[in-house]
C-alpha cells in the first residue's frame, strides 16, 4: 500500500524531469545571444575554437542528445564562463552552503513558529496571544528583500553587532538565516495556534483534562501531535519557498550558494550552469515535498495512501 504510493510518486517524476530538461534546454538555446557574445575582442577564429570545444557548432538536436547522454553519466558538463570548472564542481561547492542556509532557516522557522504559536494557544486573547500574532502579521506581509536589508541596516550598520556579508564564521549565518526563516516562522505560528485551539475542543482532550492533567501536560502529551499536522503539511510549500527565497537572500548577503550561481549564470548565458542548477532546484523541491508527505502519513494515522 505504502510502497505503491511511493512508486507512483517516483513514476510521476520521470515525465516532469524530462519536461524540465527539455523546456530549459530549448528556452535558453532559442533565445538571442550566447555565452560568448559579450566577450568583446574575440576573433572569429577563437570564437570558432570555443564553439567547437563546447560542441556549440553541432546541430541543436545532437547537442540535446549529448546533454542527455552526459546527464545519464552524472556529468553536467563544463561551465562556459568559469574557466576550467565543471558544473559538478560548482554545485559541489555551492550546494552545501545553500543546504546549510536552508536548514538553519527552517530550524528558526519551526522553533520560533511553534513556540510562539503554542504560547498564543495556551493563553488565547491575552498579551501572550496578541504580541506573537501581531509579529506574525508583520512576518507574512514583509518580503524577504525588505526584512533582510532592514536587519542589515539595524544590526549590521547601526549597532554593528553582526557582519553583513560573507559565509565564514557562525556570526555570518545569523542574519541570512533569520531573514529567510522569518516569514515561515510567522506563518507556522499562526498554523500552530489554529491547530492547537481547534484540537482543544476535541473529546480526548476533555478526557485528559478530566483525568486531572495540567494544561502543560495536555499540550505536550496530547495536543501537539494532532495540532501540528497543519504545520507539517505546510513544511512542503515552506521548503520550496525557502529554496526560492534563498535566491534573494544569497544576493543580499553575498553568499556563494546555488542561488547566486543560478542568477549569475542566467544573466551571463552560462548554459550548462543554468541547466545544472535548475535541475538541481527542481529535484530538491520534489524531494522535499515527497519527504513531507511521508512524515505526514506517519504522524496522522488516518491518512492512508492507497
Amino acid at each position: 500500500m505504502g510502497s505503491t504510493y511511493v512508486l507512483k510518486r517516483l513514476a510521476i517524476m520521470v515525465p516532469i524531469f524530462f519536461l524540465v530538461v527539455t523546456l530549459v534546454f530549448f528556452m535558453i538555446r532559442f533565445a538571442p545571444g550566447g555565452p560568448f557574445s559579450s566577450e568583446k575582442s574575440v576573433s572569429p577564429a577563437i570564437l570558432k575554437n570555443l564553439e567547437a570545444k563546447y560542441h556549440m557548432d553541432e546541430p541543436l538536436l545532437s547537442q540535446y542528445v549529448r546533454y542527455w547522454k552526459d546527464l545519464f553519466r552524472g556529468d553536467l558538463g563544463p561551465s562556459f564562463k568559469h574557466a576550467n570548472r565543471s558544473v559538478n564542481e560548482i554545485i559541489e561547492e555551492a550546494l552545501p552552503i545553500s543546504l546549510e542556509l536552508g536548514l538553519l532557516s527552517l530550524t528558526w522557522a519551526v522553533l520560533i513558529g511553534v513556540s510562539a504559536g503554542g504560547l498564543a494557544a495556551l493563553k488565547p486573547n491575552t498579551v501572550y496571544d496578541y504580541v506573537p500574532m501581531a509579529f506574525s502579521i508583520l512576518g507574512i506581509c514583509l518580503p524577504t528583500f525588505v526584512v533582510g536589508p532592514v536587519l542589515v541596516l539595524v544590526f549590521g550598520l547601526w549597532l554593528q553587532w553582526l557582519p553583513v556579508a560573507g559565509w565564514e564564521t557562525w556570526q555570518d549565518r545569523v542574519l541570512p538565516s533569520l531573514t529567510l526563516g522569518f516569514a515561515y516562522a510567522a506563518y507556522i505560528s499562526r498554523l500552530t495556534r489554529g491547530g492547537l485551539i481547534e484540537i482543544r475542543g476535541q473529546e480526548f482532550i476533555r478526557t485528559a483534562r478530566a483525568k486531572g492533567l495540567t494544561e502543560k501536560e495536555i499540550l505536550i502529551k496530547h495536543s501537539l501531535r494532532g495540532g501540528l499536522l497543519p504545520v507539517v503539511s505546510y513544511l512542503g510549500p515552506a521548503l520550496a519557498g525557502i529554496i526560492t527565497g534563498a535566491l534573494v537572500t544569497e544576493t543580499i548577503f553575498n553568499i556563494p550558494g546555488l542561488g547566486r550561481f543560478f542568477i549569475e549564470s542566467a544573466v551571463n548565458r552560462d548554459y550548462t550552469v543554468v541547466m545544472g542548477t535548475s535541475l538541481l532546484y527542481f529535484t530538491l523541491i520534489f524531494v522535499c515535498n515527497f519527504l513531507v508527505d511521508i512524515v505526514y502519513a506517519v504522524l496522522d494515522p488516518r491518512v492512508k495512501y492507497v
Binding site: L19, P143, F145, L153, T244, V248, I252
Partner: protein
Amino acid sequence: MSNSLWTDALHRLKKNKLALLGASFLILELMIFFLIPVLARLGYEAQDLELTFAAPSPVHWFGTDSLGRDLFSRVIFGGRISLTVGLLASLVSALVGVVYGSLSGFLGGKIDNSMMRIVDVLYALPFIFLVIILMVYFGRNFILLFVALGLTQWLTMARIVRGQVLSLRHKEFIEAANSLGLRQRDIVLKHLIPNTLGPVIVYLTLTVPSVILEEAFLSYLGLGIQAPLASWGTLIKEGVDVMDLAPWTLFFPAFFLSATLFSLNFLGDGLRDALDPKGARD
C-alpha cells in the same frame, strides 16, 4: 439580481476588522493613484540635482533619491505599475484557470481525470525558475512579464473551479433547472457560473498579492521592470543600495508594498470567511 448570498456575505465582511482595514487602505491607495496628475506635481523622472538624498520635507513628502527625483511621485508611479502587473497577471491566471477548471469539471470522466493529472504534474514544476530564465533570455518586457507570472498561478484556480462545478452539477437546483427544461447554456450562465463566482473572487483577491510579490522579487533581482519605468520592487532595490545614507528611500516603497500585500491578503481571507461561513477559521 438581489441575492441573499451576497447581502449576507457583505454583512459578515463588515464585522471583520482586518478585512475592512485592508479594504479601506486599498480604496485610499487607488484614489491616490488616480489623482496622480493633481498630487504628483513632479514627474517620476524629474530631477533636481541640487537636492539629492533630501530628507522628507513639505516639498518632497517622501524625500528624494540618489538622482534627486521626488520619491513620493516615484512610489505612486511604481505602485501603479506593481498593481497593474498584479491585476493583469491575476486576470490571466483566472481566465486560464476558470476555462480549464470548468471544462474539466463539466466534461467529467476520463477527460477530467487526465486534465487534473496534468495539473498535478505542473504543480511540481518550479515555475519561478522558468520565469527567471524566460525574463533573462527574452527581453524584460512588460507583457511577457505579466503573462508569464499569470501562467504560474492558474493551477490552484483550475482546481477550485473544477471542484465547484463538479459539486454543483448534481445539486437539486441544477436538476430542477434541468427538469424545468432550461437550455444547457442558461443553466451554465445563470446557475453554474454565479455559484462559482464566490470562490473565484476570493482566490483572485489572494492571487493579486502573490503576483505583486513575485514581480517585486524579480524586479529586486533586476529581472523585472526595467528603467526608466519602476515598480515597488525596483524602488526597494534602489533604496537598499543607499539605505545607510538615506533610509527613507527604502522605507517608503517597502511600506507601501507591505501594506498593500497585507490589505489584499486580509481582504481575501475576509471574503473567504464571508462567502463560506461554514469554512470560517479561527
